[in-house]
Assembly symmetry: C2
Homo-oligomer: 287 residues x 2
Amino acid sequence: MNGSVIKAGVIHPGQMGVAIAAALASVGHTASWASQGRSDETVNRAEQSNLVDLLTLEALCNDSDFIFSICPPDQAPSVAQQVADLGFNGTFVDCNAVAPATTDLVSNIVTQQSGTFVDGGIIGPPAVKSGTTRLYLSGKSATAVAELFIDSVVDARVLGSSSGAASALKMAYAGWTKGSAALLMTQFALAQQQKVESALLEEWELSQPGLTTRLDSGCSSMAPKAWRFTGEMHEIAKALEDAGLSRYWFDGAADVYECLSDLKNKPDIQRKEVIDALLKTMNDGSA
Amino acid sequence: MNGSVIKAGVIHPGQMGVAIAAALASVGHTASWASQGRSDETVNRAEQSNLVDLLTLEALCNDSDFIFSICPPDQAPSVAQQVADLGFNGTFVDCNAVAPATTDLVSNIVTQQSGTFVDGGIIGPPAVKSGTTRLYLSGKSATAVAELFIDSVVDARVLGSSSGAASALKMAYAGWTKGSAALLMTQFALAQQQKVESALLEEWELSQPGLTTRLDSGCSSMAPKAWRFTGEMHEIAKALEDAGLSRYWFDGAADVYECLSDLKNKPDIQRKEVIDALLKTMNDGSA
């Protein structure tokens, strides 16, 4: 590995957080977490990945040079606040899918406590091999964070010294991938509700080759994760609004993913179940 | 050709209308239009296609067995009303991109005047050769209309006897093609406004192959036609809302296409000009 060994704390180790922690540990850094108040699922995941459990957030803050915040987007400011309240003055890397304005808010929380703030945005699946996952970083200390990942499976890339760039890239990228998947489900749901879904599939075969496959893979991959997408859709809506663009798209996308939240972690889910759930929940007015 | 020669009136012959009229004429039917009050551009287009000019809408209604309405979506009910007011009691085929509820409204206007209503939805470009363009038809007399196109370049397909199915298919189909193009422009505009567009293009090269090409071809093909998409976006929003789904998507899409309306018919337009126009008009609050 390059550079010095550092102590990294990860809040909270979901699938992505564990992957980031494992990448750091793989090149000699110490990767820790705090189990207090976390679910059995998270405990199991962290234990399987040999993360050091420092038990409390206080211990984690006291014993870390770098904190990586990887949590649901709507919790990003409160995680930063908890860390700041515990007097952390190392480098805080917010890796969450949040709007640049939320990044500013988190940055202010961190720096008011004399911490150093680095903006991060993760694109790709939880990394288990090289070449799948980029951690974009921006802000004055972005390079120092990127260097921690040298020789690991995480491709850390510095986007410049302006905080907010990494978040903006994540918003623009995820807005297409998650937004277009939800739009495609919505259009198919319209066809199904109007009893023209067979004709739509036939027309797609003729003029939109591959679109049926895209719908089906979107249904099976997105629906089980939908429960954690709603907050991200709100952040993308905010990012668009702040940029003077239309936020409506992601009010629509948030509705879709909220309607699918009951399908959480469901394996082998097929198109029909997803579209039925979307139509039923929308029509129940539950979202 | 199969079946009897009929007299068809087309209101109003834009590019798509002329293509439908030419397809009918190519298999021996008489295709007419009415030039009164139309633009020089429309007159030239109709003359080049050898449509019979019956001068007034009244003459067109008196002398046609079938009327094909092919107009901007927001004008569909008023075109039907004008035709009904002139006592037309033949078969009225509404080929416009409208919500099923708008189709019902048009159908009521037509049948109150003892006319026969057929719902139509066109998918594909103005047809000049076989295999590119489908005219979907639904309603009790859909088969009679489909038969008129036998051996022509227009692939007329009957979707069943329920009025509304052809419109619903068009809404579901166009919602994806036009909606996803506008969503992609919006996400790139966000990246550009945040000065991370180069990073987004690089990331797309890695993980979304073909997406840059898709953005560029969407910009050059959609922006010059954007001026006539806004009404269609409102109809798709209505179709979704009536189906119990989120209409927000197409409030967003309508905003995008409205912002691009000044680029009407502009040739060789490139990504940069489109995204700049989108950001500028959105931020001016003009849309």
